[in-house]
């Protein structure tokens, strides 16, 4: 296994440098999983390095790039002429001596979570570059400069591929996301406040069509909704009224199946009156979108004969949830529904404190049930240093898994997948990368936080588990659902955890006082 000697960089004006060729040959790594290669130009004594052929998640050395290292000077100098830049220098070290806690693997199993076929050198290169950008941005301010340089190179490599391979498309989206990050960002560190993503907006019809396709192709679209809804149905059995407070109603798709389930309850009673209060942020757009959703749900409910009403509830200026803003009828059970899809387009409010305030608001509302659907983050929060890189890799992994799952299920429908990727997943990636970059330290999953905050777990029924398994049965074999805790179902693709749906309730002794916040 060859090695890349940074001193051999022969920067020429055109074509592949000899280091390129060497590098390419050197990169005949038989990687059939995510490249867990971290570039470290660490010690100045290493002019030659050995390569660990079996780089796996287990030995993920902490990245430390010494930017002032002499090896980098040529690159800074050559930044103007971007085509000089072949691939970043990297000495792949066997095992970095000083590893931070980021070496804790995201998964317990020793094999990498996704087996994504790394098809070619080009693919490897793309992924390496991507990682390099993330790494650059994890460092200090100077990193942005290098990041931009690498991004230029990336875009070059990708420019011809509009319909490239899966990984190429994936890389394209992540490149776009990183680009958007840098473009939208004047200062560092950055607060992800604005919802105005500087990327193209698709017409609603296109988005909805793509979402419908996604529903057909993957359980990730329906899994959370169905699980939460079933838990809700069970919790409010026999009631005459139900009041659901929904954090992010979006298009209201979740409630279609709930409405249906309510009218077809076979307990002999007429369906209960369903009231949904949608939480919106203070912007007018958000409210009008929610109102429209409410209209559509009303129409739908009417078509099925389900008594239905709809309300809005605004977050305050700091995007905090104010329980008092919700009109609760005495005696009606309140269900608090929280679907967190951080990268989703239109995800208006989702800052950690906002979500935290919402979940705590459930206590004030004396909610009977709290349903939570969120993306699985993986290992516990790491330390600050390199945290963007870490979170970035987690997102990269996640979307790799999703890409792979779609491809596995529908290998011949490349165009369809491309559309779904572009319209639905791409924006999510942009949002996810933004969030990963946000100043907030990596919050633990809401589920864990809720357990810590005192919420009680509500055990999921056999029906629910069975339903989830049946749902997965429609799709490709690679999906698995498991009960992670008594109140939580976890959807994963080939051991890569994707989504979790958990159900909670307020223990009677819990008082609506502020609890430790989600953000540290």
């Amino acid at each position: 296994m060859g090695l890349f000697d940074s001193k051999n960089i022969n920067i020429s004006a055109e074509g592949e440098t000899e280091s390129d060729i060497k590098n390419r040959e050197a990169m005949e790594l038989v990687l059939d999983d995510l490249p867990a290669l971290i570039f470290s130009v660490g010690s100045s004594t290493t002019t030659t390095t050995t390569v660990n052929d079996d780089i796996s998640w287990d030995d993920w050395p902490s990245p430390h790039l010494n930017w002032s290292h002499e090896d980098f000077h040529p690159f800074f100098a050559a930044a103007a002429g971007d085509h000089y830049f072949a691939t970043p220098p990297h000495n792949i070290q066997n095992q970095s001596s000083s590893t931070s806690s980021t070496t804790t693997t995201p998964e317990d199993d020793p094999t990498p979570p996704t087996k994504f076929p790394v098809e070619s050198d080009k693919t490897q290169r793309l992924l390496h570059l991507l990682t390099a950008v993330a790494e650059a941005l994890s460092g200090d301010l100077n990193g942005q400069y290098l990041a931009r340089v690498i991004l230029i190179r990336l875009k070059e490599l990708l420019s011809t591929d509009n319909a490239g391979s899966g990984i190429e498309r994936l890389t394209n989206h992540f490149t776009e996301a990183l680009d958007a990050l840098l473009d939208g960002d004047a200062t560092f560190p950055r607060r992800s406040e604005s919802n105005q993503f500087p990327y193209r907006h698709y017409p609603a019809a296109e988005v909805l069509t793509a979402f419908q396709l996604l529903q057909d192709m993957s359980p990730i679209a329906s899994f959370g909704h169905l699980t939460a809804n079933q838990a809700i149905i069970e919790a409010v059995a026999g009631e005459r009224r139900v009041h659901i407070v929904d954090y992010d109603i979006a298009e209201g798709i979740q409630w279609a199946s709930l409405i249906q389930a309510m009218v077809s309850r076979n307990d002999g009673l007429p369906p209960p009156h369903l009231k949904i209060t949608a939480v919106t942020n203070s912007r007018r757009r958000s409210a009008s979108a929610a109102k429209e959703t409410g209209r559509r749900l009303s129409d739908f409910a009417a078509s099925l004969g389900q008594p239905f009403s709809f309300r809005l509830c605004r977050l305050d200026q700091q995007k905090r949830f104010q329980p008092a803003a919700v009109k609760v009828v005495k005696g009606e059970p309140v269900v608090v529904n929280c679907v967190l899809c951080p990268g989703q387009v239109g995800y208006g409010h989702g800052s950690v404190t906002s979500v935290g305030s919402f979940l705590l608001g459930a206590v004030a509302l004396r909610a009977r049930l709290v349903t939570l659907i969120e993306e699985d983050i993986g290992a516990a929060a790491g330390d600050e240093k390199g945290s963007f890189l870490r979170r970035f890799m987690i997102e990269l992994e996640r979307y790799m898994a999703i890409w792979e799952s779609l491809e596995a299920g529908f290998p011949k429908q490349g165009r369809v997948r491309e559309m779904v990727e572009r319209v639905i997943l791409g924006p999510r990636i942009i949002g996810a990368v933004r969030r990963a970059y946000g100043c907030e330290p990596m919050a633990e999953e809401c589920g864990e936080w809720m357990a810590a905050a005192g919420f009680a777990r509500v055990e999921l029924s056999f029906f629910n588990l069975c339903q989830a398994r049946l749902l997965l049965g429609i799709f490709n074999d690679g999906y698995k659902v498991e009960d992670d805790a008594s109140n939580k179902l976890l959807l994963s693709w080939k051991s890569r955890r994707l989504l979790s749906a958990s159900v909670w309730t307020i223990p009677t002794r819990m008082s609506p006082s502020p609890s430790p916040s989600l953000a540290i």
Binding site: D216, S264, G346, V416, D477
Partner: protein
């Protein structure tokens, strides 16, 4: 009472006579001795596989080593592992339940064996066994219920999606009429009409294993042909029925691999592949006289957005801004009939339809 060599009541086969060899393996006595995977042997197999990290990681060779059973060859293990892998996912839970039921039955049998000695009452044994079987059936029935409900819920989702899609396209068309150029308008009108006819595909036939009376055969129709070129059809469905599960007497839900297809005009070639699993099949919309539809794929492949107008009526948060202008494409899209999800002229694979209504 129940010899371990004899098949249990739950077994669905009528197996041939078996003998137990020296190695502990049970072989059949027909002319060509075949290995019989007894429950014990299978348990050892499962343990070994688990030790090795799951069916995907284990290989016949390693399993053989771990199990350490004499007389077990690679061939035995290869085929058993394959069946195991195939059978593991979809009916795993049923496996568990049925296994529990098996356990219960065997326990009941043995305990009633003891009882019979003391009480000498045959009826007790039978009652016990019947009770166990009822339990199993109850579980199966529950699963059926879940399945029915799930299907209705998914359909409801689809209906709702369809309705909001229609509205979105109506909005599109409305705006388009206001500000777009002539060619845009055409496109949008076509788009509205085509996509307005979209229906969400329902689940495929669900055939409960050996309970054929329970066929829920929903519709599959999805005239998304408009969007994508005709060679790219999607078929919702799963693999063919699981052979392993049959032989085990377990009863998973098996998805029929007969997929419903629409045969319209010039799109027959798509349908040849319909048995192909895991393809999401989208039925093309009705084409007038087989007129070729220029697919919306053209629209999408160039990554354009159809409209250059700004929207004020778009309701989708955050994405409602219509994007950059794109080159207008003249889509000679035929006008399909407005289709109701239920009705299909001819070409329907299955006769039983579950209508949306």
């Amino acid at each position: 009472m129940f010899s371990s060599k004899k098949p249990t009541m739950n077994s669905h086969e009528r197996p041939p006579m078996c003998v137990q060899g020296d190695s502990g393996l049970v072989l059949t006595t027909d002319p060509k001795p075949r290995l019989r995977w007894t429950v014990e042997l299978h348990d050892r197999f499962v343990d070994a596989v688990a030790q090795l990290g799951g069916p995907d990681k284990a290989t016949p060779k390693t399993i053989m080593r771990v199990m350490g059973v004499k007389g077990l060859t690679l061939y035995h293990l290869k085929s058993h592992l394959q069946k195991f892998r195939l059978g593991k996912q979809p009916h795993k839970e049923f496996n568990d339940h049925s296994k529990d039921a098996l356990e219960m039955q065997r326990n009941a049998a043995s305990s009633s064996g003891i009882m019979s000695r003391t009480m000498n009452d045959r009826n007790v044994q039978i009652t016990e066994a019947l009770r166990m079987q009822k339990e199993v059936q109850r579980r199966l029935h529950e699963q059926l219920e879940v399945q029915k409900h799930l299907q209705m819920r998914i359909e409801a989702q689809g209906k709702y999606m369809q309705s909001i899609l229609e509205k979105a396209y109506q909005t599109l068309a409305g705006e388009g009429a206001m500000t777009a150029t002539g060619s845009y308008k055409d496109l949008q009108n076509q788009a509205t009409m085509n996509l307005g006819a979209m229906a969400f595909p329902s689940l495929q036939d669900l055939h409960l294993f050996n309970n054929d009376q329970l066929e829920i055969s929903p519709q599959l129709d999805r005239p998304l042909e408009d969007f994508f070129p005709s060679n790219e059809t999607l078929c919702l469905g799963k693999k063919r029925p699981n052979p392993y599960s049959y032989s085990n007497g377990k009863s998973p839900l098996i998805w029929s691999d007969e997929l419903k297809l629409q045969e319209f005009g010039s799109h027959e070639e798509n349908l040849k592949n319909n048995i192909d699993h895991e393809h999401l099949q989208i039925a093309p919309s009705i084409i007038n006289g087989g007129m070729e539809m220029e697919s919306m794929a053209d629209v999408y492949e160039a990554k354009p957005l159809m409209l250059s107008v700004d929207s004020n009526g778009e309701k989708y948060e955050g994405s409602s801004k219509v994007g950059r202008p794109s080159t207008p494409r003249r889509a000679t899209v035929s006008t399909p009939e407005r289709m109701s999800p239920m009705i299909r002229g001819g070409g329907l694979g299955q006769t039983r339809n579950l209508s949306y209504a």
